[in-house]
Assembly symmetry: C2
Homo-oligomer: 351 residues x 2
């Protein structure tokens, strides 16, 4: 079992460090390599996703990713910015399905800005497409009709892209409450109309799943009004970026949420994937030992479960995190005072 | 003073009917014409925005718009769908600035899904660009590299489009708390990078305004976590569609919120504009006298204020709506039992 750790920028190194300690403590003999990404890789090697990093990733069974994003790099040319590391990994490794479960943790019902009765009803999974949409279309600058400079980005989805993510979403719904809501903007976008047509088509293969469609503006409203109504949501890369962050915040503890990005490649005991906390690099608190590593530790658990087939070890980690929370070990994001190492120690002690 | 009423579809006719009664009761001698839009216009004249409707609109000082959207029309070709009426009016009349204030109404703090202390801090204005972005770029179908069908839509903004909306937003911030947050996705989109560069440029003309930038995914989180942090938000057409609906729902009373769409054309006493409630056509409750007409009545007040220079009359309407609320006249959207006509009567009685 081989995994690669990509600490990245900001709080990335601190939080992945704690996750590595947890994985090591399990004594599973997992081979762990480190690889540079993001602003850190740019500063060391001149590129946010060096070829060596990609090669190490390809030789492994899964990736534990910290975070990328560094204000120092905001004025670089686009292809050299830290964000290109995560976008490049998703594309190069065909990790097209981003799974983001959102559910209120026991004992944390009061941490959401939503009323406790609204927040505690949340138990949803967002399936976000990661390899297409306006993220990867042709983009650039040109001269507009009125002679001024114009920035443009082409949004698109083709049938095969929608089909493969729809299958992932329908299967996920089968394993949950059997309800799938596809979110688009078909009243304005042809990209969305094609998306909707293909989802309707694939639905025929999953008659046991109840399918509905919602416009993205309405979905953003419903995620505030009554997020408990959703089971699985499937949507494109751009709408998924917005809605999954919104949903995470509804849960009230963004420092707690993990995510998996999967493709079709199999490993010896599961599916190849990239796992990352959904919080960003938080440069303002980086290097101070203040960040909550729980989301990264939970991402490591997802990696063990989905890419290495180590379900029992994943259960142990998740239980230890749950116990630490119950015992009041709360990071600053949750109004507590526990620092990065202290939280790591607390989880280790409860493994 | 000439205005045109466009009832449209679903609950549109019911709610505009109440607003017309309120305007008439003011005795200002305003000339009101009706014009067909949306699915209703398609059914009667074969087009969602008939040329006669556009001509009547052009000859008036402002438009009071109900809602468009009719499930019967969902399978029509895109250019014949009800939504094209509102998109067509915005574009043909160069109504490029959509202003959506969101603030909790006194006495309605408990109607938001957000905690009362979070909801009651909301006092923001979203300035959404309406004439550009992926809404109006080239769109269609083509064959993808893998031979399957692909839907595409081109997103773009040129400098002149961003400049004019930035001026509107900076001026709005000057008239409020002096803080402007520009929302984009500049870490991925060139359209956003150009947007950001132009906003930074225009900022030089407004040194008294404090400008910040936020990625759209973060903005969707912050609107849940702490919406009270915002004063004015300026953003493009697509992100504005999503975030303004989300913000409205944070307020907890989407049946109460009005919006104005303005351009540069002046009327005798103000600016030409289109005014509409932000709720949609709600086909499920249409024709039953259940819809809350308050958002449309408040839209009429905005029309009087901004397009007709009738500030005193607008104040009277807003005060009457406030009073009706205080007296417990609540529509079903607010957990009350008052119907459409009853709410209209209650506002009329308090004018
Ligand atoms: C860093 C950025 C490019 C990325 C995205 O937009 O996909 C991030 O927001 C995410 O959701 O993983
Ligand atoms: C009806 C639809 C085309 C429209 C939009 O997306 O602009 C609506 O959602 C709005 O916000 O006014």
């Amino acid at each position: 079992m081989k995994i690669v750790i990509m600490p990245g920028d900001g709080i990335g190194p601190e939080v992945t460090h704690e996750a590595v300690r947890v994985i090591e403590a399990l004594g599973l003999g997992i081979d762990m390599k480190q690889a540079a990404v993001g602003g850190a890789a740019y500063k060391a090697y001149g590129h946010p996703l060096p070829p060596e990093t990609l090669a190490i990733a390809e030789a492994a069974d899964g990736i534990l990713f910290g975070a990328v994003g560094d204000p120092d790099c905001d004025t670089l040319e686009r292809h050299l910015r830290p964000e290109q590391a995560i976008l490049g990994l998703r594309k190069a490794l065909t990790l097209f399905a981003n799974l983001r479960p959102a559910k209120v943790f026991k004992g944390l019902e009061d941490h959401s800005a939503l009323r406790p009765e609204v927040a505690s009803a949340i138990d949803l999974l967002i399936v976000r497409e990661l390899n297409g949409d306006v993220y990867f279309g042709e983009k650039g600058y040109r001269t507009a009709a009125d002679g001024t400079r114009e920035g443009y980005d082409v949004m698109s989805y083709c049938e095969s892209e929608v089909r493969r993510i729809a299958h992932v979403a329908f299967r996920a719904a089968q394993g949950r409450k059997g309800r799938l809501c596809s979110v688009d903007k078909a009243n304005v976008l042809e990209t969305s109309q094609l998306w909707r047509d293909v989802v309707v088509e694939i639905h025929k293969e999953y008659p046991d799943v109840q399918l509905s469609h919602m416009y993205v503006d309405n979905a953003a409203m419903q995620l505030v009004r009554n997020p408990g109504q959703f089971d699985v949501i499937v949507t494109g890369n751009l709408f998924g970026d917005i809605l999954s962050d919104q949903a995470s915040m509804c849960v009230g503890s963004i420092g707690m949420l993990a995510s998996a990005s999967l493709g079709e490649r199999k490993t010896a005991h599961g599916t190849y994937g990239l796992y990352e906390p959904i919080h960003g690099s938080a440069p303002d608190i980086a290097g101070q030992g203040l960040a909550n590593p729980m989301a990264t530790i939970l991402s490591a658990a997802m990696l063990l479960r989905h890419s290495l087939g180590q379900a029992a070890a994943a259960d142990r980690i998740e239980a230890a995190v749950g116990k630490a929370l119950e015992d009041g070990v709360l990071g600053r994001d949750l109004g507590g005072r526990a620092g990065t190492t202290e939280i790591g120690d607390a989880v280790l002690a409860r493994l």
